[in-house]
């Protein structure tokens, strides 16, 4: 990656990129209503902008078929079609969100009936990172960017590689990923993302007080975080388990091509079909240590 040119970093100005879970399947099964969720989040976004004149908020809608930018506080294209009842930020965001949902619906593909498809978290994270990379390269000064994931739907295992790539790229550009997970179970993806990038992972137990959680925990800019005690992510157990028996292992065989983990020697990788070379079973004990997974 081309190194980001050194710039003057501002202390306490936030560029907050919010990914908003708009998975309709999730919201229709979830006890907390989407409109209530939205009103709490909108209030939070507005408060971020009110915290500092230079603060910037970008919202990315995360559907289950597509992702899209739905709001950018720095954009001039925000058409202020307010009917006077609410600020422009709300009406713009809602207008774009409505359009996005309609588009997302057109892209609907058949999924297994009865299940909830997962949201495209990997896509949303990538878009957020792209936006931040652009911000890094534009202008002499830029705020400290961070990503906030407001998610509720379950992890999509098929996105694993893409999400991990996004997480590592966020880590490399030192962009913390905060996660406010509102679903009933913890999200391993978001835990991992926050853990690796040094962000905050929090699952608010009291959803009707979501605004307060957001404003007390997630509104703090990166500078202030040094002086505050925020909910710390609990140590996450990321011990590996083997692909073959799903058992947690401390030592095992790793495919040199696709990094699959096995607890015993195979002739062929079950993940990428690479044929493994002959193991020197005669000198096994000494040699197999080299192939160990930590």
């Amino acid at each position: 990656m081309a190194s980001v040119p050194s710039k003057h970093y501002t202390d306490d100005i936030s560029l907050l990129v919010v990914t908003l879970d708009t998975n309709p399947f999730f919201w229709s099964t979830f006890s907390f209503h989407f409109s209530e969720f939205l009103s709490q989040v909108l209030a939070f976004l507005n408060s971020i902008l009110l915290l500092g004149q230079l603060n910037q908020v970008v919202v990315i809608a995360t559907g289950c078929n597509s992702c899209s930018y739905v709001y950018d506080s720095s954009s001039d294209r925000n058409h202020a079609s307010t009917n006077g009842t609410m600020p422009a930020i709300y009406s713009n965001l809602l207008h774009n969100l409505d359009e996005f949902v309609a588009k997302d619906q057109q892209l609907t593909t058949a999924h297994k009936p009865g299940t909830v498809p997962s949201s495209l978290l990997s896509g949303a994270l990538s878009m957020a990172l792209c936006y931040i990379q652009r911000a890094f390269r534009a202008g002499p000064m830029h705020p400290q960017p961070r990503i906030l994931c407001l998610h509720g739907s379950t992890d999509g295992p098929e996105q694993y590689v893409a999400i991990m790539n996004a997480i590592f790229s966020a880590q490399r550009s030192s962009v913390p990923v905060d996660s406010c997970y509102i679903g009933s179970n913890n999200s391993a993806f978001l835990q991992q993302a926050s853990y690796i990038t040094g962000g905050i992972y929090y699952r608010p137990p009291q959803l009707d007080g979501l605004f307060q959680y957001l404003s007390t925990v997630f509104a703090t800019d990166l500078h202030s975080r040094e002086y505050l005690r925020l909910p710390k992510s609990l140590g996450v157990d990321f011990r590996a388990s083997c692909f073959c028996h799903k058992q947690t292992i401390d030592m095992g065989y790793v495919c040199s091509v696709c990094l699959s983990i096995f607890c015993e020697h195979h002739d062929k990788c079950s993940t990428c079909s690479s044929v493994f070379g002959q193991t020197q079973s005669d000198v096994a004990s000494a040699d197999s240590r080299k192939r160990k997974a930590s």
Binding site: F34, S39, Q105, Y160, Q206, F211, Q212, L228, S241, S260
Partner: protein, 544 residues
């Protein structure tokens, strides 16, 4: 001629069977303008009055013939461009053998038109490449043929004159004056009187432009030297070996090779003047020996310089297609051309260097076999790692309860859009949250933050300090300072105990004493620990 347009030209006409290969005579050759049309029995030769007439008719014949051939080949379904067609016709007309073969095979229906030409593809390509390479050059009579012709010959040969023309005409002098000056300068050159030339130049500064050595030429020569291909052409053959040729031919050959291939001027002499003067030392324009004073060399031109320049221009070719126009326009067009071609040459040179810079022996072998990575199921990675994490983190070990959704996508999207429009119309919830909820959230967060339960014991590296903000943690991290702070507090407590009034002392000591005791115990423990640590001499690598 059944062409759509009719052309009437006067021509003599005779029938002949001789010389069937040539289609028409070339302009500039000794032969009169003949057009030879070949047919099955022989050929007709038309003699035109002028070459332009010939060209008009030739074109027309070409079109007509191609139409004729097109109509005959009904079987072939391929569509041919007019260029392709004329090329085939030309080949047939130039090559009688081929024509005979074509007649035999195609006319008799043994082969279709396209089949026939498929086997003769090489011939077609050859013609194509020949056409690409060949350019019409200048006539080889530039130097002595110095009429102010307006086709830009003088401009091409003498860039300084070209530049001067652009500068002076018509702003400073008229065209007639310009050419007068030019030929005056030429005359002085031809007298070979370098002293007179210097004197004239001193008098008339405009004239001096023509008399001095061409600066532009020199610059160009220098530029060319810089452009020399640094790569060595190993394909040089016997034809490049000029040493066995007689001197006259050697000179010509040199002129040719030098102006053609810039690599020969690698010794740094512009245009290889050095080599030629070595070969035929002392030949100047009039054949006299070098006698003049050194200071007048500025006004001296050698025949060799002229020859070199001429051969270069001749080989560069006539880049001007416009016929007699105003000299001013010609001059401008030429100037533009020059700039364009310079850019192209520079680019070509760069491309060539980049191509040659790779040395085959030093390249890494890239014949490694490769196969695209095909991951059967990326979900495996997730399961392998995350299953553990989720299992241990969820308070209930019941695992994931999978959400079930039996609604259709229309329904779910509909409800989502409905809630969006709901907010649009009704606005945000007011109040956003009730005081009871706010209190609950606050106490919940405080409890979460202050609790160390979940943090401790999870991993050995983490301590109570880790839950503190990083700035405070850093301050506390130094154990020595911590110890100092504790002992300070200890002594302060002691002071408090002593300073208290006697009647209160007992009560104060009741409060302070347990605290003091705890601190002293901690200090004792620290000392013992440090002693123990320092006793262990050989520490394993990285052990703190």
């Amino acid at each position: 001629m059944s062409a759509a347009q009719q052309v009437v030209k006067r021509a003599k006409y005779k029938t002949t069977v001789k010389d069937p290969g040539h289609k028409h005579t070339k302009e500039g050759s000794n032969k009169p303008p003949w057009l030879n049309l070949v047919h099955s029995q022989g050929s007709y030769i038309f003699e035109f009055e002028s070459f332009p007439d010939l060209h008009v008719c030739r074109e027309l014949v070409g079109i007509a013939l191609s139409k004729h051939v097109e109509t005959t080949k009904v079987v072939s379904d391929e569509q041919l461009s007019a260029a392709e067609m004329t090329l085939r016709i030309k080949l047939l007309q130039e090559n009688s053998k081929l024509q005979k073969l074509h007649k035999e095979l195609v006319a008799s229906g043994k082969l279709t038109e396209s089949e026939f030409w498929a086997t003769k593809k090489k011939l077609l390509d050859q013609d194509e490449s020949r056409k690409l390479k060949q350019r019409i050059g200048f006539k080889n009579s530039l130097i002595f043929d110095t009429k102010p012709t307006s086709d830009g010959r003088i401009f091409a040969l003498k860039p300084a004159v070209h530049q001067a023309f652009l500068n002076f005409v018509p702003s400073k002098m008229s065209e007639v004056d310009f050419w007068n000056k030019y030929f005056k300068a030429e005359y002085i050159h031809s007298t070979k009187n370098t002293i007179a030339a210097a004197a004239e130049a001193a008098e008339d500064e405009d004239l001096a432009v023509f008399l001095k050595d061409d600066e532009i030429l020199e610059n160009e020569a220098r530029k060319k030297v810089r452009r020399v291909d640094p790569t060595l052409d190993m394909e040089a053959d016997q034809g490049d070996d000029y040493t066995h040729l007689p001197v006259g031919i050697r000179l010509r050959k040199f002129c040719f090779t030098i102006s053609n291939c810039s690599r020969y001027s690698a010794n740094g002499y512009p245009e290889g003047i050095g080599e030629i003067t070595e070969l035929d030392h002392g030949i100047f324009r009039d054949g006299s020996k070098e006698t003049s004073e050194a200071q007048n060399t500025l006004y001296r031109r050698t025949l060799l310089q002229d020859l070199n320049r001429q051969s270069e221009v001749v080989l560069e070719g006539k880049t001007l297609d416009i016929d007699t126009e105003h000299p001013r326009t010609v001059a401008e067009v030429l100037a533009r051309r020059k700039q364009e071609s310079d850019g192209v040459i520079e680019e070509e040179r760069r491309n060539r260097i980049s191509k040659m810079a790779q040395i085959e022996d030093l390249q890494a072998q890239d014949d490694h076999p490769f196969a695209p990575l095909s991951i059967k199921d990326p979900r495996d990675y997730f399961d392998s790692q995350q299953a553990n994490a989720v299992k241990t983190l969820d308070d209930s070990l019941a695992g994931k309860e999978t959400l079930r959704c039996n609604l259709s996508s229309e329904q779910v999207y509909g409800s989502l859009r409905k809630s969006i429009s709901n907010i649009k119309t009704k606005g945000l919830k007011d109040p956003l949250l009730s005081p009871e909820v706010a209190l609950k959230v606050l106490s919940g967060l405080t409890k979460n933050i202050s609790s160390t339960k979940s943090n401790l014991g999870k991993s050995s590296q983490e301590s109570v300090l880790d839950i503190l903000p990083s700035t405070i943690k850093e301050k506390l991290l130094d154990a020595r300072r911590l110890k100092d702070a504790i002992s300070q507090i200890d002594s302060k407590l002691e002071e408090i105990k002593v300073s208290a009034k006697s009647d209160l002392r007992h009560q104060v000591s009741l409060v302070v004493h347990p605290m003091q005791q705890a601190l002293e115990a901690a200090l004792l423990h620290y000392d013992a620990d440090e002693k123990k640590r320092s006793a262990k001499v050989p520490k394993p690598n990285g052990y703190v």
